[in-house]
């Protein structure tokens, strides 16, 4: 039996894993696909070479690994937490992406986008103050 504090803590840890690895996975996958290049045509030989290049790219495998980590963390957190808790709480990834864009990539983040991030933070704070689980539990 997990205590309410323990439940909150493990929910937050898994949501943090989800929101950290998903944007990184997307980035690696995007970078990998750019390295592979566009598919020349739908001819079988072109398709074979395209997929061969894609599946022998380390960058793409890192991306796939990160997205699989996201999916496993998502499944695990849903084994105890409400979907209506996890869904809005995971939108905090927008804050992570905006901070990465601003401080690491030195991109311009528009005031509208910062305002959106502000709304998301208020929303996640409000959701985060509710109980992660409101239904009966089972253990495995």
């Amino acid at each position: 039996m997990t205590s309410p504090q323990g439940l909150h803590l493990k929910t937050i840890i898994l949501i943090l894993i989800m929101v950290s690895v998903a944007p990184l996975g997307d980035t690696f996958l995007g970078k990998g696909m750019k390295q592979v290049g566009a598919m020349g045509s739908w001819a079988p030989s072109h398709l074979f070479h395209f997929f061969f290049r894609a599946f022998t790219s380390g960058t793409i495998w890192i991306g796939i690994g990160l997205l699989l980590t996201f999916f496993v963390a998502y499944l695990l957190v849903l084994s105890w937490a409400d979907y209506s808790y996890v869904l809005p709480a995971s939108s905090i990834s927008s804050l992570m992406i905006a901070l990465l864009a601003h401080f690491v990539l030195h991109e311009t983040v528009t005031p509208t986008r910062w305002a959106g991030v502000g709304f998301i933070c208020v929303g996640v704070f409000a959701v985060g103050r509710t109980q992660p689980r409101t239904t009966e539990r089972r253990s495995c």
Partner: protein
């Protein structure tokens, strides 16, 4: 216009329904309390034996491909803000189909997130 409306429906409804199926699957499997790789693999293996897992995957895939289709017929600056509605639909689905207790505070949070996600998408231009 009709094509865009159908695609929008497919993004929001099957996409969200798939996630609700996945949540139902994991609740059926039960709370994972042991985080050793072997135990995690066992829990996911149990989930994969349930029909609702594969229905969920199928519906989530439908939502994903509808999103790709929508991006080909509508502007990105419209598509992503519009999908913010999924958060409200998902919360309603959690309330109706999973029996979750959605307090006014949680609804307030979801509303803020919907507005925020729409603004972030608009702000990206």
């Amino acid at each position: 216009m009709l094509k865009a409306a159908i695609l929008y429906f497919l993004i929001v409804v099957p996409g969200t329904a798939g996630e609700i199926c996945m949540s139902h699957t994991m609740k059926t499997v039960g709370e994972v309390v042991d985080f050793r790789p072997h135990s995690i693999a066992l829990a996911i293996g149990r989930a994969m034996k349930l029909r609702s897992f594969w229905i969920g995957i199928l519906m989530m895939a439908t939502g994903f491909f509808a999103l790709l289709g929508m991006l080909s017929v509508a502007k990105v600056s419209f598509v992503f803000p519009a999908t913010a509605l999924s958060y409200a639909v998902g919360t309603l689905g959690g309330r109706l189909f999973l029996g979750e207790r959605v307090t006014p505070q949680r609804w307030f949070g979801v509303l803020m997130v919907c507005i925020g996600v729409a603004l972030v998408a608009i702000g990206k231009g």
